[in-house]
């Protein structure tokens, strides 16, 4: 990866994290807030691979923890794992295709489910009476809402790269 590219991704990540802690909560439905940083982690995994996504997941999660100030380390842990798992969807050749089809949405959905499941499972320990029920409820709704937000990169890629498939 070139430095320039790294810088670009980092700046995207930073702005997303700032958005996540400032603007995104305004979109909250009840207490359910979509996670745009997760979209970025998945995107990194699809574009660059597993290790990058793992590290990216950890770093972005850590920053989120610091800014949001709830359970320090929880986002870092969950984003690390999510990044790692997202790495299995990595394929150098199909990145553009993935980003411009519903595949990205599907991947985000699956990973978001994993992400939120883990996150709220830990988050609700010792807080709620029924941890599993609470996890399913909050995790599920947050996942759905996060998935809706995949239209942002989707939109971006379909506009920027008009893709034609050369079948030869």
């Amino acid at each position: 990866m070139k430095t320039q590219m790294v810088l670009r991704e980092v700046s995207i990540a930073l702005s997303l994290i700032v958005m996540q802690t400032t603007i995104i909560p305004l979109f909250a439905i009840e207490l359910y807030v979509p996670d745009v940083v997760l979209l970025w982690v998945v995107y990194i995994a699809l574009r660059f691979g597993q290790i990058e996504a793992t590290i990216g997941g950890f770093c972005s999660g850590f920053l989120q923890d610091i800014l949001a100030g709830q359970l320090l380390g929880l986002s870092a842990l969950v984003k690390t794992i999510t990044g790692f798992v997202a790495g299995y969807f990595y394929n150098e050749n199909t990145f553009e295709q993935t980003m411009t089809t519903l595949r990205y949405t599907m991947i985000v959905f699956v990973l978001s489910l994993l992400h939120n499941g883990l996150y709220f499972f830990i988050f609700y320990q010792g807080v709620k009476d029924s941890v599993i029920l609470a996890t399913i409820e909050t995790g599920g709704i947050t996942t759905l809402y996060t998935t809706v937000f995949t239209f942002i990169p989707f939109f971006y890629y379909t506009r920027k790269h008009r893709v034609v498939w050369n079948r030869s």
Binding site: A76, L77, T80, I81
Partner: protein
């Protein structure tokens, strides 16, 4: 050899990175003070305790299996023995002191060894080698011959996790032995404080603090520490009282768990008595 290690590393670099990140995250998580983490922490600590005790033998096996010559091996063995004898002598001394302490004390106690300990965190704990099977239950006080060590907060079959005085989540109600002034002992992460003592109360540097009769976990009159420093807190009702713990946690190796301190019985009795009182009053 190194190459092979490096090779393995490159082969599994994803997993290495993953483990690193996860360990980092978990470390971060343990700095939190929330109900979620308390549950996780107890499981992890007891687990670590078990592993640590077995792992601690490993270096010895390595040294025995090394390719040293017979003489050298013998030398080591002798040195080791001498060491062990010295150790045994010291241990003997310590144990005898503890035995005396146990004889002096009036409540039934169970001796235990410290298997592992944390002293540098905000919430320090020690793991001891007695557990449920030895009659240890949660909320039993732990002492040594110098004074109060802490409170059993988690018990597995053969191990118990003791929350020690140097832990931000442990509170002990204490009193100044001389002037009977009540307060609450609490660790703030760097020093031990005797809190909730109004400024006008009689406290002096050098006063001994012991557990008070108010406690439901701790038997009264266990030594906690000595007042080291007195200060003013502007705008506050309370004195700032810094305490030196009676127990030297760095050297801590053997402890006693005080068994059968009837806290539940006391609780039940009290609530029933209070119930009766309020009934008669309403009549």
């Amino acid at each position: 050899m190194l190459e092979r290690v490096f090779h393995i590393f490159t082969l599994y670099k994803e997993y290495v990175v993953l483990s690193c990140c996860i360990i980092l995250s978990l470390t971060l998580l343990t700095t939190n003070d929330s109900p979620q983490i308390k549950r996780i922490r107890s499981v992890v600590s007891v687990g670590f305790g078990i592993v640590q005790e077995y792992v601690s033998f490993v270096p010895q096996y390595f040294s025995l299996r090394s390719e040293n010559a017979l003489l050298r091996r013998k030398n080591i063995a002798l040195a080791d023995e001498a060491n062990r004898l010295r150790e045994a002598k010291l241990e003997n001394y310590r144990l005898r002191r503890m035995l005396e302490f146990k004889e002096r004390a009036t409540f039934p106690m169970k001796a235990a060894f410290v298997v592992s300990k944390d002293l540098l965190l905000l919430r320090n704990t020690i793991t001891i080698n007695v557990g449920y099977n030895d009659g240890i239950r949660e909320q039993m006080p732990v002492v040594n011959e110098d004074g109060l060590v802490g409170l059993v907060t988690h018990v597995s079959a053969n191990y118990a996790l003791v929350t020690i005085l140097l832990n931000t989540s442990l509170r002990v109600s204490g009193k100044i032995q001389r002037s009977r002034v009540d307060g609450i002992i609490q660790w703030d992460g760097s020093v031990l404080l005797f809190e909730n003592v109004p400024r006008t109360r009689d406290v002096q540097v050098g006063d001994v603090i012991v557990t008070s009769g108010y406690s439901q976990f701790f038997v009264p009159n266990i030594r906690i520490g000595v007042v080291r420093e007195l200060g003013d807190q502007p705008g506050s009702l309370f004195k700032k009282i810094v305490v030196t713990p009676a127990v030297d946690f760095v050297k801590l190796e053997e402890v006693f768990v005080i068994l059968g301190h009837a806290n539940e019985e006391q609780l039940n009795l009290e609530s029933s008595v209070r119930g009766v009182l309020s009934q008669t009053r309403s009549k």
